[in-house]
Subunit: 150 residues, 2 copies
């Protein structure tokens, strides 16, 4: 059995570092890697509730609640009560939050493209397609983990 863990251990480490570096470089002290994940996911989903984002990120809901609170205090996230169910809060990015999110996007993309630019066109496309493929497979496989069956 080939040792694929090696590959992914390095991959996750590298990306983790890149992620922190980005938070420092492009957002100063105003955001942490975890918070960057949260902004990303709020932006991605359509009118998500707290549970939905926390679930997607595999975060404990109480930890998530506090992180959201600080993001609200910073003015990056807005909580809107669900019109049909007052228990639920709909999360959305404020214009400032969206600005930060776009900033991160740009910075990370630039860095990644700089890494990818050392490859040939063919390699680059293969790599991108491969990761897409892998993510899909992963999603199917781990969906049972983060969204408990009941």
């Amino acid at each position: 059995m080939e040792n694929v863990r090696n590959l992914f251990q390095l991959l996750s480490r590298n990306f983790g570092l890149l992620n922190e570096q980005c938070c420092d470089n492009c957002c100063g002290q105003e955001i942490s890697p975890v918070q960057s994940h949260i902004l990303y996911e709020i932006n991605r989903q359509h009118q998500p509730s707290m549970q939905e984002i926390a679930g997607a990120l595999g975060m404990d809901i109480t930890t998530f609640s506090r992180q959201v609170k600080t993001l609200v205090d910073k003015g990056f996230v807005k909580k809107t009560p669900h019109p049909a169910d007052n228990r639920i809060n709909i999360l959305s990015l404020t214009p400032e939050g969206l600005g930060i999110e776009n900033n991160i996007n740009l910075t990370v993309n630039t860095q990644l493209h700089s890494v990818l630019s050392t490859m040939t066109e063919f390699e680059r496309e293969t790599v991108i397609r491969s990761i897409k493929l892998f993510n899909d497979a992963m999603q199917k496989s781990t969906s049972s983990c983060c969204t408990p069956p009941k």
Copy 2:
């Protein structure tokens, strides 16, 4: 410019979850994801010093020092003074530490292979080769980040 951040954001998230899940499943309470990274890197390098491991992981040396201390207390890591320079501590895994590391390796590999098993042989090999390729490119590109020039 294609949005490659998307891919890597999901990738790192998925692997992060998988990593935590592994720490819970295969090691119980006795190890955290950060500590798993440390064991991995100690095992990988040849008679590494504290600085070398902390540098490779991009960790603050004081945080690293404390994490190593808890790993020593748990009996997974050994610190040996460098014969020629008493300031330096050489890090190594104890038999128990190596056991844990092998355990993690096996568990993560099994899970990853389960994910990869949904692909065709060709896809699988392409994915593995691609990640290898990308790690190499990343390594070259970020080496300046984690090992500051001086």
